[in-house]
Symmetry: C2
Subunit: 769 residues, 2 copies
C-alpha cells in the first residue's frame, strides 16, 4: 500500500505517436486534440499522474473517470463499506447478516466497476504493473472469500471471524484519488528506518533503567498504593517505565520509592530527563528531518511530472507560424483549451491569464510560457464585479438621500464593528448567567433582534450578491447562525408556551448556536485573524492526516473488537451491581473499574474509535491497557504498546512536523514569482483593488471592497466594473501548497532538460534517491 | 535581567589610542602588546564581549578576572548562596539563622569583590551603563536590607519573610559568564509577543468551549465519579478544560458525559483536536520560528564582534614589511600570541595552524588570515603521538615473539569485541536473576575477572598513555566502572563474611555499577554511536537549559515555600492516622491524599524542586494543584497554571526547538570551510590519519588508531611520529556550535565592512531588528 507510485506515470512519447504533427504544416486542431490537451492541462493542474491511453475513446472514458460525480460515487461507496462496521456484529445498530452482506456485495461491485473503468482508460500492461490495482483486486477477492466462508459458518451456526474487515481501509489508500494519503504513508515508511534505530536505543535505555530499578528498589519490600509489591517483576517494571515515558503514570509510579527516600527521586528524574524529554525530542527531530527530506524530493518529482504533462499538451496544440520559426500555441487554441479545462472562469479572467502568459502581446506563446498555465490556473483570482445596490437602481432618490447616506456611513464605520463586538461580549455574559431567570431568557430576544438588525443593515449598505459571495465566510457564518438561532428559539418558545414542554435537543441546539455566535469576535482582531487564516490554509493537509488516522484507527478498531469485544460491559442502570466491575468479575477493585471506565470498551466500532482516541491522548492509557490485559491476558498490552508506538511516536510526530513546516512557510515565504507577475499584470491593467483595503484578511475582504463598489457615492465609481484580486496565500490543492513549501529549492530550468529527453521521465519512485 | 547586552561591547577605537602605531616604523612589540593581543584573541575565541580598559594594569587585572580560578570561585559562591535554601527555614537540614546569615554575608562580600574587580577592569562610564551591574548591585543591596529586617524581626520574635531569596538566581543570570543563560532568556522574551497572541486565541477557544460545556452539560444533573455535580460552575469548567489541554485529566473529565451519551464525546474530541493538537503544535511552531529568527541575528552579531576583536588584536601586532606595503603579522609575533592564548597546544599543532593561515608560506599573514585564528583555535585537533608500547621498549624479544603477536592480533580482532558484547549480554541476564542464589552471586566474580582481563589485555596491546588519552571516553568509563565494582564487591564480601552484615548502600552501589557496565554494548553498534554522539554534541546547550530551568524552579520554589509550607505534611510512620490525609484535615477524601501524594509538598527546597519537576512532567498536576488549592485558597491554582504556562508552554518548547535545530544541523551541515582547509593542510603535510579508520566515531577513535601506531609490526610504522586528526563535529564552545548552525547565512565579507568603520560596531541589541 505504501509502494512508490510505480505506474502513476505520465504518458510517454510513444503513446502520443498517432498525433504526431509534421514539422512543416499546421493542420487545424480537431475537437479530439483539444480534449486531449485539456486533459493534459487538467491533469497537470491537479497533479494527476495517470498513464491514460490517448485514443479519443479512451480520453472520453478518462474524462468520465475523472468526473466529479464518479469520484463522489466512489467515495460514497468507500464510506458505505467502512461504515458497515457500525451495523455488523459487534454492532451499534444491529442489522441481519444478509443485509450487511448485501450492501458489502454492492460496494464490491462498485469498486469492481471503477477498476474495470480504470483498466479501460490505461494500457493493459500498465494496469497490471501497478501495485495499487493488484492490491485492490486482492482486497476484493479476499473480502469475497471471507464473506463466503463467514456466511457458510454462520449458516451452520459456527463461530466465524470477519477478518477481511481490516482490509477495508486499503481501498481508501489505493484508489487513484488517494494520492495524498499514499504520500503520508510513504513519509511514514521513509522515516521508519531512522526511527527504528532511535527506538532501539530508547528501548535499550528503558531496559537498562528497568534493570537498575529492579536491583535498587525490588528488594526493599516497598508497596504500591494498592499494597502490591513494588518493582519486583522485571517485565512489570519495563511496562511501568515505558508508561512513565508517556508521563501517564507520573508521579504515581515514583511515589512509593520517593516516600521511602528522596534519593530515589533522582533515579526517576534522570530517567524522565533522558527518556521523556531527550528521546521524545529526538523522535520528533528524526521524523521531521525525514519528512522534510523525502517530501522535498517528492515535490520535485511532482513538479517535473507536471511540467512534462504541460509539454505534452503543448505538443498537441503547437503550430509553426513561419518556416523554421518557434513552435507556438495561438491565443484561439489556448482559449479553447482553457475553456475546456475551466469552464467556470470568466472571459475577463481568461484574458487576464492570457496577458500574463503572452507578456509581449504577440498573439501566441512558446512552450515555457505555456507550461506556466497549470500554475496560473491554480492561483485563486477573485473576480469582483462592481454592481450598484439593487435599491440604488430601484429608487435612487431614496437610497441616495442624506439619511440613507448617513446610515451607510455609520454602518461602514469602524465604531459599528466595535459596538457589535461589545454587544457580543455582553451577550457572552448573559449566556453564562442562569437562563432560568426570565429577564435573562427574554434578553435573548433582544440579542437576536440586534444581530438580525446588523445583517439587515449590512444588506442595506452592501450589494447582496457581493455580501453573500463565495469568499465571504464570516457573512455566511453570521447569517446562518443567526437565522438558525432565530428559528430554533421560536420553535422552542412555541413548544414551551403550548405544552410547557421543552425539548432538550432543541435547547441544546439553541445553546450551541448562541455560543457559536461569539466566535465572530475573533474576526475583528487582526492578529487573531492572521493566526486563524494560517490554520485554515493548512486545513486541507490536516484532513489528509485525518484520513491517515482513520485508516489506522479502523484497523486497530477491527482488531480490538475481535480481541476484546464483550469483555468489558457498560451498564446504563446505575443500580446494577455488575456496573461496579464492568460486568467482569476480573475487574473487581482494579483502577479501570474504580475510575468507571466501563464505557471505554471495544464492544462496537464507535466505542472503539473513542477508546483509541483516548489512547492517542495517552493519559491513563496504562489503566486502560491494564484493564484489558486483566480481562484477557497480560500479552494484550502488546496491542496497546504497538498502538502507542505507531500513533503517538510516529503519526503524531509527523503531524507536528507538518504543522511546523507549514507554519514556517507561512511566516517566511512570500508570494510566488508567478503570483507576483499576475499581480503586476492586474496592476498594469488598472484592474487592481487597492491593497490597503485588503490587509491580510481573506475571508472578510469582500465586505470592505463591496463597501466601496456597492454604494453609489463611492469615489471609485469611475473605476472599471470588473476588478481582480489574488487570494494571495490560498492554495487550490494540497500539492500547490507543497510546491510552495519547497519552491526555493526547485530548479526553474528543470523543465527544459526534462523536455529534451521526452518520455524518459522517471517514475516518482524514491528507491534511487 | 533579559535586557540586551548593552555594554558587553567590544572596545572601540578610542580605547586603543594609546597603542597607536605610526604607519611608517615597526617598533618592537612589548610584552604588554602581546598580552593585549592575547587577551583580544582569547576574548574572540570564547566570544567574551567585555569592554575592558587597554592600559597594561587593567589588562593584567582583566587576565586575573578571566582566570579559571576566579570563575570557579564565583560559581562556588553562587552555588553556595543558592544552596543556602537547603539550610534556611523551611529547611532540609536546619541551621541556626546566624549561621546561614553569616554564610550569605560571605557570599555577598564575594560578589561585591568580583563586582569591584570588574569595575576596575572596564571604564567607569561603561560600568554604570550596564544594566547587568546595576541589577547585581540592586540585588546585593536588597538582600542586605532584607537580611537586616529579617534579623531584626526574628530577634524580636516577629514573623518575617526572607523575600530577597527569589532574587538570588538573578546573580546567576547577571554575572558576566552567564551569557548563554541571558541569551536563553532573551529568546524567551523575544518569543513572548507572538506566543501571547496565540495564547489569547487559545484561551478564547477554551472559554468558548467552557461556555458551551456549561450550557450543554451543566443542566443534565450529571455527577462526577465522586458524586459531585458535573460541569455546573463556569470557572471549574475552565480549569478542567485547561487541564484537558495538558491531557492530565483525560479521559476522566469526559467519562460522566460519555456515560450519559456517546454524542457528548464528540464535544471532547473536537476540543482535544483543536486545543491539544493544533494549538499546542502552533505554540511549538511560533516558539521555534522566533527562536530561529532571533538566534540567527544574535549569532551574526557575535561573529561580527569576534571579527572586530581579532582586527583589534591585529592592529596591536601589525607591522609593515616595506614602505606602503600591506600591514602584516610576522610568524614570530603570531607564535608569541598563540603561546600566550593557548599554552597547552603543542609546537607541532601550532605550526600546523600557522601553515593553514600562511597558505603561501610568506612568513607573515595579513588581516583576513589573522582573523581566522579565533576559529582555528576552536577547531579541536587531536594530536596523536606514535609511541612504541613500553613493553616493546623494555623487552622487545618477548613483546615481538609469536605468541605475543598472536595475542595482539586476537585482541584487535572484531571477534574480540563481539565476544565481550556477548559476555555483557549474559551478564545482563545474570544481573536480572535473583542474586540470593549462591551460583549467581559467585558468577559476579567471574564477570569481574573477565572485564578486568579485557582491560589488561587492551593495556598489553595498546600504548597505555594513548589508551587513557583525553578523548578515550569509553576506555576511561570501562576502567573506572570495573575497578569501582571490584572494590565495592570486595568490600561487600568482606563485610558479609566478617559479620554477616550487608550494607544496603554498598550493595546499591555494586548494583548500579554492574548495570552501568552494560551500557558499553551501545558503543559497539555504529548506528547507536552516531545517535549518542549527536546527543553528546548538543549536551552543552542542554546544560544552558538546565541552568534556565534551575533559575525558574528556584523562583517558584521560593514562592511556593512561602505560600504552601507546612500545609501538607508527610509522616514517615505508616501507622500515624494523620498520614491518610497528609496531616491536614482539609485533604480528607481528596484525590491528593488518596493517591498518597503527601510527600509532594513545599516543606523544603528539595521537595519543592521534585514537586516542580512533577508539575513539568504535567501528569496529575491538576490533582497536585487542587490539593494545594484545597489547603489554602482556590486562587492558589493561579500559581500552578502560571508555572505550567511558563515552563511547559514556553521553556519546554524552546528546548524542543533547540534540539530540533541542533539535529537538523547535525544531519545537514558538513564541515566548515575552515575545518576543510585545516584538513587539507593536514593531508598535504601527510600527517593525516587514514579516514576510513576513524569513521564517525569520536570517542572510540583513539583505540583504533593506537592499534596501528602502538603495535610494533604495524605497516604504518614508517609514518611520522606525530599525526593529527580533526574532531570534525565537536565544538569547543556553545557559540561555535551556534555559529555553525547559521554559518550558511553569514556573509564572509562582513568583516571587511565592519573593520572599515572601526569602533562603530553596534551593540548586540535587537530592538532595531
Amino acid at each position: 500500500m505504501s509502494e512508490p507510485e510505480k505506474s502513476e506515470n505520465i504518458p510517454d512519447e510513444s503513446a502520443g505517436k498517432g498525433k504526431e504533427i509534421p514539422n512543416g504544416g499546421n493542420p487545424a486542431k480537431t475537437k479530439e486534440d483539444f480534449d486531449l490537451a485539456a486533459v493534459y492541462v487538467s491533469d497537470a493542474q491537479y497533479n494527476r499522474n495517470i498513464y491514460f491511453d490517448t485514443s479519443p475513446q479512451a480520453v472520453r472514458l478518462y474524462l468520465l473517470y475523472n468526473h466529479w460525480l464518479s469520484k463522489v460515487l466512489l467515495y460514497f461507496f468507500i464510506l458505505l463499506d467502512l461504515s458497515l462496521a457500525i451495523f455488523e456484529e459487534p454492532a451499534v445498530f444491529s442489522l441481519p447478516i444478509w443485509a450487511t452482506m448485501l450492501v458489502e456485495l454492492l460496494c464490491l461491485l462498485a469498486f469492481t466497476i471503477r477498476l474495470v473503468h480504470y483498466a479501460k482508460v490505461i494500457p493493459r500492461d500498465k494496469f497490471w504493473k501497478d501495485p495499487k490495482n493488484i492490491c485492490i483486486i486482492v482486497t476484493l477477492m479476499l473480502t469475497l472469500v471471507d464473506m463466503i466462508i463467514y456466511g457458510a459458518l454462520k449458516a451452520t451456526n459456527c463461530y466465524g471471524v470477519r477478518w477481511s474487515r481490516v482490509l477495508r481501509p486499503l481501498l481508501l489508500i489505493n484508489v487513484t484519488e488517494g494520492r495524498q494519503l499514499r504520500r503520508a504513508f510513504r513519509s511514514i515508511r521513509n522515516a521508519l528506518p531512522q526511527i527504528f534505530y532511535v527506538f532501539l536505543l530508547f528501548m535499550f535505555s528503558v531496559l537498562i533503567f528497568s534493570l537498575m530499578a529492579l536491583k535498587l528498589l525490588g528488594k526493599r519490600g516497598l508497596k504500591t498504593i494498592d499494597g502490591a509489591p513494588y518493582f519486583t517483576n522485571y517485565l512489570e517494571i519495563v511496562f511501568d517505565l515505558y508508561v512513565l515515558v508517556t508521563t501517564a503514570n507520573s508521579p504515581d509510579v515514583m511515589m512509593p520509592a520517593y516516600n521511602a527516600s528522596f534519593v530515589f527521586a533522582i533515579f526517576f528524574i534522570v530517567y524522565i530527563l533522558i527518556n521523556t524529554y531527550i528521546f521524545m525530542s529526538v523522535f520528533l527531530a528524526v521524523v521531521y528531518n525525514n519528512y522534510k527530506k523525502y517530501l522535498k524530493e517528492e515535490v520535485r518529482q511532482l513538479v517535473r511530472a507536471k511540467r512534462h504533462k504541460m509539454a505534452r499538451a503543448f505538443a498537441v496544440l503547437q503550430e509553426q507560424r513561419e518556416e523554421g520559426g518557434e513552435l507556438v500555441v495561438t491565443q484561439a487554441n489556448w482559449n479553447q483549451v482553457v475553456r475546456l479545462v475551466r469552464p467556470d472562469i470568466s472571459n475577463a479572467h481568461r484574458e487576464l491569464l492570457w496577458s500574463v502568459s503572452d507578456d509581449k502581446n504577440q498573439g501566441s506563446i512558446g512552450k515555457v510560457a505555456f507550461v506556466q498555465l497549470a500554475d496560473l490556473l491554480n492561483i485563486e483570482v477573485i473576480t469582483l464585479k462592481s454592481r450598484p445596490h439593487p435599491l440604488h437602481s430601484l429608487c435612487p432618490a431614496f437610497y441616495l438621500s442624506a439619511p440613507s447616506r448617513l446610515l451607510c456611513r455609520i454602518v461602514q464605520h469602524r465604531a459599528f464593528v466595535i459596538v457589535y463586538d461589545l454587544i457580543i461580549l455582553v451577550n457572552a455574559v448573559f449566556i453564562g448567567l442562569d437562563e432560568e431567570n426570565p429577564m435573562i431568557a427574554n434578553s435573548e430576544w433582544v440579542f437576536l433582534a440586534l444581530y438580525l438588525l446588523e445583517i439587515l443593515l449590512k444588506l442595506y449598505v452592501f450589494e447582496p450578491r457581493a455580501f453573500f459571495s463565495r469568499h465571504s465566510f464570516w457573512n455566511w457564518f453570521d447569517t446562518i447562525i443567526v437565522i438558525s438561532a432565530l428559528i430554533a428559539t421560536i420553535v422552542n418558545s412555541a413548544m414551551k408556551s403550548s405544552g410547557g414542554y421543552t425539548s432538550r435537543q432543541i435547547l441544546d441546539i439553541v445553546f450551541i448556536l448562541r455560543v457559536l455566535r461569539l466566535i465572530r469576535v475573533v474576526d475583528s482582531i487582526q492578529r487573531f485573524r492572521a493566526i486563524i487564516n494560517t490554520l485554515i490554509r493548512i486545513g486541507p493537509m490536516i484532513l489528509t492526516f485525518g484520513q491517515l488516522i482513520i485508516v489506522v484507527y479502523y484497523v486497530f478498531a477491527m482488531l480490538g473488537m475481535e480481541l476484546f469485544k464483550g469483555k468489558v460491559k457498560f451498564f446504563e442502570d446505575p443500580n446494577d451491581p455488575a456496573k461496579a466491575y464492568c460486568g467482569n468479575p476480573l475487574l473487581k477493585d482494579t483502577a479501570f473499574a474504580q475510575l468507571n471506565y466501563c464505557k471505554n470498551n471495544f464492544n462496537n466500532v464507535v466505542s472503539s474509535f473513542i477508546l483509541l482516541l483516548e489512547l492517542t491522548v495517552v493519559n491513563q492509557w496504562h489503566v486502560l491497557s491494564s484493564g484489558f490485559a486483566t480481562v484477557t491476558h497480560i500479552s494484550a498490552r502488546i496491542f496497546f504498546v504497538l498502538f502507542h508506538i505507531l500513533v503517538v511516536i510516529v503519526i503524531i510526530n509527523i503531524f507536528v512536523a507538518f504543522v511546523l513546516e507549514a507554519f514556517f512557510v507561512e511566516y517566511s515565504v512570500d508570494k510566488s514569482d508567478l503570483q507576483t507577475s499576475l499581480e503586476r499584470k492586474i496592476e498594469e491593467l488598472e484592474l487592481a483593488v487597492e491593497q490597503e483595503k485588503m490587509e491580510d484578511n481573506l475571508v472578510n475582504a469582500m465586505e470592505t471592497i463591496d463597501n466601496d463598489l456597492g454604494t453609489g457615492q463611492s469615489p471609485t465609481a469611475n473605476k472599471p466594473s470588473l476588478m481582480f484580486k489574488i487570494a494571495s496565500k490560498r492554495y487550490r490543492t494540497v500539492d500547490a501548497l507543497l510546491q510552495r513549501m519547497f519552491e526555493a529549492d526547485l530548479d526553474p530550468e528543470d523543465f527544459a532538460e526534462n523536455d529534451d529527453q521526452n518520455g524518459n521521465f522517471a517514475n516518482p519512485t524514491f528507491s534511487s534517491v
